[in-house]
Symmetry: C2
């Protein structure tokens, strides 16, 4: 039996969902809330397996409530069910730790399926949301290559040189680098100079950009 906590400020929506989920024998709505602020107490009281959460609510909204929830150990899974699917909403919800993101126009049967999937620990996203995520990662095209190339280039440097390069990448001046790495100023200059010739760059800004590229985009 999947124990569900329903969180939506609209009583009509809650009624609709109750009706919709009533047909599923393995799903039970154990409590309801109209505000994210009530969620922690209800979760503590009823220990639901899953929280069906709206995003837009007065007071504590969905993502905020989700974040608070998921910070706890063995928190229930959160399935966000909403009318709004702007980039901001999607991102906030997923970052808050939601395992699913469905639009309210999803067919009832699919919502039931999604609840089972999320309760089982698998993620579920509406097609629109999936498409955006794909576009987002695919939009990074070349990013990975850039990062790989940058890393390969930095690999050409000696250990100490890479340290200096990283410091340059943090926006440090030669003098600061000298202090940080316990070196004399001329030494730092020598390193920077050799980094520039080795990597065929013109100035420290380009070192900084290269270092940044190298540290970006780890892979999916």
């Amino acid at each position: 039996m999947i124990r569900v906590l329903l969180v939506d400020d609209d009583a009509i929506v809650r009624a609709g969902l109750r009706l919709m989920l009533g047909g599923a024998p393995d799903i039970e709505i154990v409590a309801e809330a109209a505000d994210g602020a009530e969620v922690p107490a209800l979760v503590a009281a009823y220990g639901p397996d899953l929280v069906l959460m709206d995003i837009r609510m007065p007071g504590v909204d969905g993502p905020a409530a989700t974040k608070a929830l998921r910070a706890q150990p063995d928190a229930p899974e959160v399935l966000v069910l909403t009318t709004f699917h702007t980039d901001e909403h999607v991102l906030r919800a997923l970052r808050a730790g939601a395992a699913g993101f469905l639009l309210k126009d999803t067919p009832p049967q699919d919502i039931v399926t999604a609840i089972r999937t999320v309760a089982a620990g698998d993620p579920v996203l509406s097609p629109v949301v999936t498409r955006r995520l794909i576009v987002r990662v695919a939009g990074d095209s070349g990013q990975d290559d850039r990062a790989a190339v940058a890393r390969a280039r930095l690999a050409l440097l000696a250990e100490r040189e890479r340290e200096v390069a990283r410091a340059v990448g943090r926006g440090r001046s030669n003098a600061e680098i000298a202090r940080e790495l316990h070196l004399a100023l001329p030494t730092v200059k020598a390193h920077v100079s050799r980094i520039l010739t080795r990597l065929d760059l013109n100035n420290r800004v380009q070192i900084a950009l290269l270092v940044h590229d190298a540290s970006a985009a780890e892979d999916v």
Copy 2:
């Protein structure tokens, strides 16, 4: 009727899929290929609605074939079906333009459903893949904030100053910027100097880093 082209170097896998999809009355396998190189010709000849594509193949592999395909107008949708789901595989496939990415251990019924979904234009991802995508975008946590903060700071600058800042962000020297923006060197220096004081920075490298932060992470 969904017309499918089957692409997999393993004849046994193709036989298995043929059997698996035989039960679906609305799905028809119109052709098969064992190599990505054959795909363009077969697509041209049979005009399938969907290509069920393996990733690892001798010669032209799945992502390469997908990329070639999707470059054409009204190309068929591509559903990648594979045993391997490393980050690299997933990314390459999605970037190549695949609309779906399923693992071969997906239950037959779900594969059939996925084919219908993808043929209808909606994306489909295996839970593992979905989870990675979520982790990836969620992993950017704070990135957005950094980007937003960076953009807000750049917004403090006048239009011309921002242009100079962007040039600095490209690793340009003052002299180069002067040439690019048709300015005198002193003017560029004046701009850079005012950017530094306004944004409370110490040197041009930090301007570059700020510009980079600002241009990162557009939003889903």
